[in-house]
Amino acid sequence: MEYRLDRNVHSLLDPRTKLLLLFTSSVFVVGNAGEKWMYVFYWILVYLPVLLLLAEKEWKAAAVAVAIYVGSFYAQMALQHDPTAWESALALMLYIITKILPTVILARYIVKTTKVSEFLAAMNRMHVTDKLTIPISVIFRFFPTVAEESRAINDAMRMRGIEMGAKKATEAVEYRMVPLIASCSIIGEELSAAAMTRGLDVGKKRSCIWKIRFRFPDLIIIVLCLTCFVWWGIGRFFI
């Protein structure tokens, strides 16, 4: 069968919308702006990332996320009455998890569903400089590499039987960090060489094969985010 490139392939949301949502989520969920006044929006923003996971058909990830969230939420509620020092420490841990988890899931969703090429083009349309967008796209590209490398190094240490044998804590850190940085530095050098021989440069106009535009789901999310800020403003300055 003949292959035809489908340039309309896209995830549910436009990269710009995703970033707006991430921004909103870090202000209202992690930053807790508006507190009780934002009650309804808070819960929408907490569960929205799960809906996005469902839209990507990541049933299992969604279920696990909800389980962790609900579990730690109720556990920390239960621990709050007359806690001992340890219990309150545990409660704080769980509380921080409930704060951070939704945004982390959102961030993971964005990294997984946004193509580097798409991201560069969308940022370019918002006139964000290459000096930020190129490093950011490299970060996305590089997290899995760092994970891959450190796993290999860890395996090697286990195989050689020196993970416990390291005499001092400093050696344990040194043995992990040195090969990791050496290896990442070499990969980075080769990556730059390859990218530059393919014409990547700063401040030059690029095209993008993916069709980037706002669609209906974007509209809903953008309205939601703007409403959050407006409602917060009303609460803050008028009431």
Binding site: L22, S26, V30, G31, N32, E35, Q76, M77, Q80, D82, P83, A85, S88, A89, A91, L92, M93, Y95, I96, I97, K99, I100, T103, V104, A107, D130, K131, L132, I134, P135, I136, S137, V138, I139, R141, F142, F143, T145, V146, A147, S150, V173, E174, M177, V178, L180, I181, A182, C184, S185, I186, I187, G188, L191, S192, A195, M196, L200, D201, V202
Partner: protein, 194 residues
């Protein structure tokens, strides 16, 4: 390669790579930050541990802007992963100052590098601003931990601790940077990759 002072793709890719490494290390350390005492110790461990990749990063810096971009990105990542936006603001300013310090050493001087690292790393300290400047609001949403816990944390962090933590952060930054240069010398320079 010609050095015309303009950042090219290679420089920006290097910034991305070292930001990723530093972020992974921060992330691993911050996981322990959910234990209350560790939260205070973040200003100790993060500057000491990220010193090694950061010093390696500085060997790649020969132009104005790379340190600043790394700091802005670290600040933004901290914000998104639930620290506070103070990290972004402080990180931007401290990154700029670090740029000037490292440039003053013509992008080569070892001690300028160490000090630039210590200064740029104070975004870590900025994460506590929420507790210092806005303690009431900070804990109003955390009431369910019981007064005892709040007292414990605020007891550990009275306002006068703010400059103390800054000092600790800077000192640990210098130590981390110094260790970084040692490791650089012991390993990467000896191996010929720095």
């Amino acid at each position: 390669m010609k050095n015309d002072g303009r950042l090219n793709a290679k420089d920006l890719i290097n910034v991305g790579i070292y930001t990723a490494i530093c972020a992974v290390i921060c992330c691993v350390v911050a996981m322990t930050g959910v234990i209350p005492i560790m939260m205070v110790l973040l200003v100790v461990f993060v500057p000491i541990l990220t010193g090694i990749p950061y010093m390696m990063f500085l060997t790649k810096v020969r132009k104005f802007g790379m340190i600043l971009i790394l700091n802005v990105l670290m600040g933004a990542l901290m914000w998104v992963t639930g620290m506070s936006y103070y990290a972004l603001i402080v990180g931007t300013v401290s990154g700029l100052i670090a740029e000037f310090i490292y440039r003053a050493g013509s992008y080569r001087s070892k001690w300028c590098g160490i000090i630039a690292y210590a200064v740029s790393g104070i975004y870590c300290w900025a994460n506590y601003f929420g507790i210092f400047f806005n303690a009431e609001a900070y804990f109003s949403t955390r009431q369910n931990f019981g007064q005892e816990y709040i007292d414990a944390v605020t007891g550990m962090l009275p306002v006068w601790m703010c400059p103390v933590l800054l000092a600790v952060d800077l000192i640990c930054g210098v130590i981390g940077g110094w260790i970084g240069t040692k490791v650089l010398k012991k390993h990467f320079e000896k191996a010929g990759i720095a």
